[in-house]
């Protein structure tokens, strides 16, 4: 929910309460005013009636009662008759409902005869009063709502514009991606403060990122040289004829470990570079051709492992991606399909317009399939496998917004990439 919608909702709720309370207050105040007017009129009428009766006597009684507003009855007993002003309902046969009246009841003597006199005055129907007030209140209320919505639209369009443009800019921000900046200036202090803070934050993130990247790269390269020294020294030692076989084997193991460490280092560096989007330039890659070239190079390994290769390669599949990444991607996938294959197994490659599927026979997976793309996940206990190949594949696919899936149906492992 938008901030404005939310605040507006609260305003509306508050306004609703105010309008309800206000409506009732309005109703009672107006009703009160009306009663007061009527009561005043009734008392005035009482005075005139008494004056008329006192001067004119009984001949006026008929005349007065003729209007229907005044009723005059002769009484014997004064007690038991309610006096004063009160509300009363009188049935109106025309409208078939009670009509509200205000009644002034009093007793006066005419020629020493007591008469009970009632004066009635119709009160404006309270129902129609309520209707009128409700109508007025709802008109004001809807004006307020509609106006609020319009105002909201205007505000979010104009006043919040810098905010949304900043939001748009930082939404897809990645330190590895392009540098962002140049936020639109705003005369609203909160927004300009936000801009300042974000700009400083981005600059810091960018700076830290570059430092970290350089550090990692440098560290990774610097490690290679000492490793080269270890490897060269051990290789020199292997040439020594005065050493016994046992010692030589230990030296050999040092040499192998140094090799592994260096490969690991290189693979991690590669993964980091891909993650950091350091392979930017993309071009149209002829996947079919690249695949054929790769297969040709691996042909010997496939033959030596007695693997049966079947392939359906669409000749006109082009994807836009970095050529180095395409090379790494296919190499890793094909190498995996051979490395993890069994002697006399099968590889099936299927390249279509929108997907590449590589199926190969192999031993059962010892780890959970969803973990396969994780780092340092090894299928075998083999020391040779570094366990980064598929993470690199995944990262390349992520960078290019390809979908990569692993499917296992005993004994076929399938990696499918959807472009």
């Amino acid at each position: 929910m938008k901030l404005l919608t939310k605040t507006n909702l609260y305003y509306t709720l508050f306004a609703l309460i105010i309008f309800i309370i206000g409506g009732f207050a309005f109703f009672y105040i107006i009703q009160n005013e009306i009663y007061e007017e009527i009561d005043e009129a009734l008392l005035f009428r009482k005075d005139t009636i008494i004056k008329q009766l006192n001067s004119g006597g009984e001949k006026y009684i008929k005349e007065l009662a003729a209007g229907g507003e005044v009723s005059i009855n002769r009484i014997n007993d004064k007690s038991g008759i309610p006096l004063g002003i009160s509300d009363t309902l009188i049935f109106n046969p025309g409208e078939k409902e009670g009509e509200q009246f205000r009644r002034l009841s009093f007793i006066t003597d005419i020629n020493n005869t007591p008469y009970h006199i009632n004066i009635l005055r119709s009160v404006t129907d309270s129902d129609s009063l309520v209707d009128g007030i409700a109508m007025a209140v709802s008109i004001i209320f809807s004006l307020l709502l509609g106006g609020g919505a319009l105002l909201n639209y205007y505000i979010s369009k104009r006043i919040w514009k810098p905010f949304y443009s900043v939001l748009d800019k930082i939404k897809d921000y990645r330190p590895a991606g392009e540098i962002i900046g140049g936020f639109p200036a705003s005369n609203i202090s909160e927004f300009s403060k936000l801009n300042d803070v974000i700009e400083r934050l981005v600059a810091k993130v960018q700076n830290d990122f570059i430092n970290l990247k350089q550090f990692t790269e440098n560290a990774s390269h610097e490690i290679q040289t000492p490793l080269a020294v270890i490897k060269t020294k051990s290789e020199m030692l292997l040439q020594r004829e005065d050493l016994d076989l046992k010692t030589l084997k230990e030296i050999m193991s040092i040499n192998e470990t140094a090799t592994r460490l260096s490969k690991l280092n290189q693979a991690l560096l590669q993964l980091m570079k891909i993650e950091n989007l350091q392979y930017q330039e993309s071009e149209k890659i002829d996947l079919g051709r690249l695949l054929e070239t790769k297969l040709e190079k691996l042909n010997e390994l496939i033959t030596m492992k007695n693997i049966k290769l079947t392939k359906t390669i669409n000749k006109i599949v082009f994807v836009n991606m970095n050529s180095s990444l395409a090379d790494i991607l296919l190499s890793n996938l094909l190498n995996n399909s051979i490395k993890h294959n069994i002697y006399g197994g099968e590889i099936n490659i299927n390249l279509t317009q929108d997907s590449l599927s590589i199926k190969n026979t192999g031993n059962d997976l010892k780890i959970r399939p969803e973990k396969l793309f994780g780092r340092f996940v090894k299928e075998s206990n083999s020391h040779e496998s570094i366990g980064l190949g598929l993470s690199i594949v995944k990262q390349i696919c992520d960078n290019n917004k390809f979908n990569v899936n692993y499917i296992y149906q005993h004994p076929i492992h399938e990696i499918k990439i959807t472009f």
Binding site: H221, E222, T225, A228, E235, Q239, L245, L248, L301, M304
Partner: protein, 225 residues
């Protein structure tokens, strides 16, 4: 043959020198950019082995300097950087080969020999080891003048051995030489075994000697009997 090694890591430089001296080369070493520059301006070398990142300057500038002198000098870059861009940049300046650290000395040795052979236009490109005579222009091998037919990999393997005679060559270095990174080493050992078995058999069948010694668990050694 006179070589120049420009490498700032002393230990590495001394081992490379030792290995190459044993191969019969004359080696001079430089450990900084300026030292390398000085040596290159004073003397001519058959092959130069250069590290890119040097104290005082960039190895690529040294390569440009060699190219300006228009000498028929072989150039091998040895660098810790192994990205494609670095390789392309290195080769574009005119170097003959690019070797990523860490590397096997046997590999470096084989590559130096290959470059020297390619650079040596006048001489006949022949390698003669005992009864084996390899003519490299047409990839022909004769054993006691009888032609030996080898597969591509067997040929590469024999050439690798020929470059590293009397050296212990590990299985890993053979695997890397023949297939690069694209192989699981456990697999490769079987393949290497097969290749060596076939190579040995083919040489023996033509009456050749058993040059390839197996050093159990480690690798092989090509010896002159």
């Amino acid at each position: 043959m006179k070589l120049l090694l420009v490498e700032d890591e002393k230990e590495l430089a001394s081992d490379i020198s030792k290995y190459l001296i044993e191969e019969g080369y004359l080696i001079e070493s430089a450990s900084t950019y300026n030292e390398g520059r000085e040596k290159l301006s004073l003397y001519d070398y058959d092959c130069v082995i250069i590290d890119i990142t040097l104290p005082g300057g960039n190895g690529l500038d040294l390569i440009r300097m060699i190219k300006e002198k228009l000498l028929n000098t072989g150039i091998i870059i040895i660098s810790a950087k192994n990205s494609l861009d670095d390789r392309i940049m290195g080769l574009e300046t005119g170097s003959d080969d690019y070797l990523t650290k860490p590397f096997y000395l046997s590999e470096l040795n084989a590559r130096i020999k290959s470059i020297l052979r390619r650079r040596n236009f006048s001489g006949n490109k022949e390698i003669i080891i005992d009864e084996i005579k390899m003519t490299l222009n047409d990839s022909q091998i004769l054993i006691y003048d009888k032609p030996l037919s080898l597969t591509k990999k067997e040929y590469e393997l024999l050439l690798f051995f020929a470059a590293n005679i009397n050296r212990v060559i590990t299985k890993e270095s053979i695997a890397e030489h023949l297939w690069g990174d694209s192989i699981d080493t456990t697999d490769s050992f079987d393949f290497i075994y097969t290749h060596i078995k076939n190579l040995r058999k083919k040489i023996l069948d033509l009456g050749g000697k058993d040059h390839i010694q197996t050093i159990y668990g480690m690798g092989y050694k090509f010896i002159i009997l």
